[in-house]
C-alpha cells in the first residue's frame, strides 16, 4: 500500500507540474547527452587515427636516409642518398626475426591515361612490399618476382588513382598509362585503405623497383626501406640490429652522426595518440562544462520550487502524514526525475553519436565510462538538491512550513 502510494504520488506530483518536471529533466538530459556524445566523438577520432596508422602495415620499421648536409646546411631527413640495394640485401641476410624487407623509391610524376591525367606519387618497389605494407588487391595482381627482375614496364594502381585515371570502379587491367612519357601496362588495382593526406596509399602507383630506377629516376639509391619484424616483441631487437648493421656498412662509429634514421609504427601511433588524447580532453572539458551547466540547471529548478513545495509539505504534515513518508515521496520524485532524464540523456547522446558517425567519416565510440560519469554526476546533483530541501522542510513544524514565504 505504502509503496504503491509513493509511486502514485510521485506520478501525480510530476505530471501535475509538467513544466517544472520537464525543465528539470531537460537539465539532466543536456548534461548527460553532451558528455556521452563529446566523449564518443573524441574516442572515435582517436580510434580512427590509430586504425589508419595500423593500415600502413603491422610491426613495421622504416629506414630512411638521414639529412643531407652540405656546408652546415641540413636538407632535412630523407633528403640524402645513402641507402642502397646492397644495404637491403645485407639487412635481408643478416638481421634475424624479420618477415620481409621492401626497399622503395618514390617520386611524383605526371601520369596520363587515355583521356585523363593526374600528378601522383610513383613508388618503385618489390613484391615483398605487399606483405610489409599489408596491401590487398582489388583487381589483378601485385608486382611479381619475375617482373621485378626483368624491369618490366608494369604498374599497379591505387584505388584513388584508378578512379582518377579510368573512372570510378572501372577495370583498367590491360590498359596503358604513361609515366614520364613511358608506357606501363596496368596489371592490378589495390583495395582502398582509407588513408588521407600526403602519403595516401590509395593515390599511389606501384611499379617494379628496378623499372623505376632505370626508366624513371636513373640512380641506384633507394628512398626508404620498410622492414616487417616477425612480431611486436622483436621490434626493438630488429631495430637495434639494423642500426648496428648499417652503421658498420656505412663506416660510421658514432651513432649520433648516422646517415639514416629508423622510425617504427609505435612511435607514429604514440605521437598521433597524444594528439587525439588532447582532442578527447578538449571535448571532455566541453562536456564537463555542459554537465556543470546542466547540474546548475537541475539545482536551480529544485531550489526554486522549494517555496511552493515547503507549503505543500506543511499541508501534508498538518493533515497527519508522517515525516518518513514525506521524505520517501520527495526522494522518489528526485530519483524518478533523474532516472527519466538519465535514460533520455543516454538515448539522445547515443543518437547524436550515431548521427555524427552517419554524416561524417568518423566512427564514434560510446564509452561506458562516460555514461557512468554523466549519469552519476547528474543523479547525485538531482537527488541531493531534490531531496535535501524537502527533508529540511519536513523537519520544520507544520505551521512554519505552511507559512513559508
Amino acid at each position: 500500500m505504502i509503496i504503491r502510494d509513493i509511486f502514485q504520488e510521485t506520478f501525480y506530483s510530476l505530471s501535475a507540474n509538467k513544466i517544472r518536471s520537464g525543465l528539470t529533466i531537460l537539465g539532466i538530459v543536456i548534461g548527460i547527452a553532451s558528455v556521452i556524445a563529446m566523449v564518443a566523438i573524441g574516442q572515435g577520432a582517436q580510434a580512427s587515427i590509430s586504425s589508419k596508422i595500423q593500415a600502413i602495415g603491422s610491426n613495421l620499421i622504416m629506414v630512411r636516409p638521414g639529412a643531407q648536409k652540405s656546408g652546415g646546411v641540413s636538407g632535412g631527413a630523407g633528403s640524402a642518398q645513402t641507402l642502397t640495394l646492397e644495404d637491403v640485401a645485407a639487412i635481408k641476410s643478416e638481421v634475424k626475426n624479420i618477415k620481409a624487407v621492401a626497399p622503395e623509391v618514390s617520386r611524383r610524376y605526371q601520369i596520363t591515361a587515355k583521356s585523363a591525367n593526374t600528378n601522383t606519387q610513383i613508388t618503385g618497389t618489390v613484391p615483398d612490399y605487399q606483405a610489409v605494407r599489408s596491401v590487398s588487391m582489388d583487381l589483378g595482381s601485385f608486382i611479381t618476382e619475375y617482373q621485378a627482375k626483368a624491369s618490366a614496364k608494369v604498374a599497379v594502381l591505387g584505388s584513388a588513382s584508378r578512379d582518377e585515371l579510368f573512372g570510378t570502379n572501372a577495370n583498367p587491367i590491360g590498359e596503358k598509362i604513361r609515366i614520364n612519357n613511358i608506357d606501363f601496362d596496368v596489371i592490378g588495382v589495390t583495395k582502398s585503405k582509407g588513408g588521407s593526406g600526403f602519403n595516401n596509399p590509395d593515390e599511389a602507383i606501384y611499379v617494379p623497383l628496378s623499372s623505376a630506377q632505370s626508366y624513371l629516376i636513373g640512380n641506384k639509391y633507394v628512398s626508404s626501406i620498410s622492414v616487417a619484424a616477425s612480431s611486436q616483441e622483436m621490434m626493438t631487437a630488429v631495430q637495434n640490429q639494423i642500426t648496428d648493421l648499417l652503421l658498420k656498412r656505412h663506416n660510421i662509429t658514432d651513432a649520433s652522426s648516422a646517415d639514416f634514421s629508423l622510425m617504427n609504427q609505435t612511435d607514429i601511433i604514440e605521437t598521433a595518440s597524444s594528439v587525439t588524447g588532447t582532442l578527447t580532453i578538449l571535448l571532455a572539458s566541453i562536456a564537463g562544462i555542459s554537465l556543470l551547466v546542466g547540474g546548475i540547471g537541475i539545482m536551480n529548478m529544485m531550489l526554486t520550487t522549494v517555496t511552493e513545495r515547503t507549503r505543500e509539505i506543511g499541508l501534508r504534515k498538518a493533515v497527519g502524514i508522517k515525516k518518513i513518508y514525506i521524505n520517501m515521496q520527495f526522494l522518489a520524485e528526485a530519483v524518478a526525475l533523474t532516472f527519466l532524464g538519465g535514460v533520455l540523456g543516454i538515448l539522445i547522446g547515443w543518437a547524436a553519436s550515431l548521427l555524427v558517425s552517419k554524416f561524417s567519416t568518423l566512427t564514434t565510440q560510446i564509452s561506458p565510462n562516460s555514461i557512468f560519469l554523466a549519469v552519476g554526476v547528474s543523479a547525485a546533483v538531482g537527488i541531493v538538491f531534490g531531496f535535501y530541501p524537502a527533508r529540511r522542510a519536513a523537519n520544520l513544524s507544520p505551521m512554519e512550513a505552511l507559512r513559508y514565504e
Partner: protein, 226 residues
C-alpha cells in the same frame, strides 16, 4: 473531550522571552461549536496550534479524548492529527493542479485504507458539504473560493475526526460566501461534529454557541450565546 490545564507557550528569541499563552484553561465537550476570538497577537493562533497538535505547549497539559498530547513526539503528533483532528485553513491549502477527489483523500495517503474505500469516503464527504458531483474531477485551482473552502472542509472530515479546527476559514472569502461556509459549519455541528473556530471577526464568531475571547495570552471572557 478537550481539556486544557494552564497552557503556557513561551517563545524565546535570543534573550527575550515572549509569553504567547500565559496560562489558559478550559474544557470543550463533544458536539460543541466554540469560537475563539481575539485580536492579532492575542495568542489565539498559538492556542489553535496546540489544540491542533501542530505544536506542544511549554508547560501545562492538553488532553484530547482523555489522552495527554503535550508529551507526544513528532510522529505520534502526526498520527493524532490524522486520526482525530480535521483542519480548515484560511488559505484553503489545497494541492494545486490536483483533482478535488485527490485533495480530499490526501490525509488517507500511506494508510491501510484501500483506494476504493478512500474514493468512496471522499465522495461521501464532498456530498456532505454540498459539492456538486460534476466538480469532483476538476482541478482544485479552477474552483471558486467558496468551493475551495468546501473541498477543504470535506478533506477535514475524511477521517471522521473528533474535532474540526477552523483557522480564520472565512478570511479569504467575501461576506456572502462567508455566510455559506459558516452555515456549512453550523450544519456539521448539528450533525454532531465538534468544531473550534478561530477568528478575529465578531460577526463570524456569533455562529458558534460559545465564544471564548482571548487577549494577551489569557482568557478574557467565556460565554454562551443564546
Amino acid at each position: 473531550m478537550i481539556e486544557c490545564r494552564n497552557l503556557k507557550k513561551i517563545y524565546t528569541n535570543g534573550d527575550v522571552e515572549t509569553a504567547a499563552l500565559g496560562g489558559v484553561s478550559f474544557r470543550v465537550e463533544k458536539g460543541e461549536f466554540v469560537s475563539i476570538i481575539g485580536p492579532s497577537g492575542s495568542g489565539k493562533s498559538t492556542l489553535m496550534h496546540i489544540l491542533g497538535a501542530l505544536d506542544v505547549p511549554t508547560s501545562g497539559q492538553y488532553f484530547l479524548d482523555g489522552k495527554e498530547v503535550s508529551q507526544l513526539n513528532d510522529d505520534e503528533l502526526s498520527e493524532l492529527r490524522r486520526e482525530r483532528i480535521g483542519f480548515v485553513f484560511q488559505a484553503f491549502n489545497l494541492l494545486p493542479r490536483t483533482t478535488v477527489l485527490r485533495n480530499v483523500t490526501l490525509p488517507l495517503l500511506y494508510s491501510k485504507t484501500s483506494l476504493k474505500e478512500r474514493e468512496k469516503k471522499a465522495r461521501q464527504c464532498l456530498r456532505y458539504v454540498g459539492m456538486e458531483e460534476s466538480k469532483f474531477y476538476n482541478m482544485s485551482n479552477q474552483l471558486s473560493g467558496g468551493q475551495m473552502q468546501r473541498v477543504a472542509i470535506a478533506r477535514s472530515l475524511i477521517n471522521d475526526p473528533a474535532i474540526i479546527l477552523a483557522d480564520e476559514p472565512t478570511g479569504n472569502l467575501d461576506t456572502k460566501t462567508s455566510q455559506i461556509v459558516m452555515k456549512a459549519f453550523q450544519e456539521l455541528n448539528h450533525k454532531g461534529h465538534t468544531i473550534i473556530l478561530i477568528t478575529h471577526e465578531p460577526d463570524i464568531a456569533k455562529y458558534a454557541q460559545r465564544i471564548i475571547s482571548i487577549r494577551d495570552g489569557r482568557i478574557e471572557s467565556d460565554r454562551r450565546s443564546s
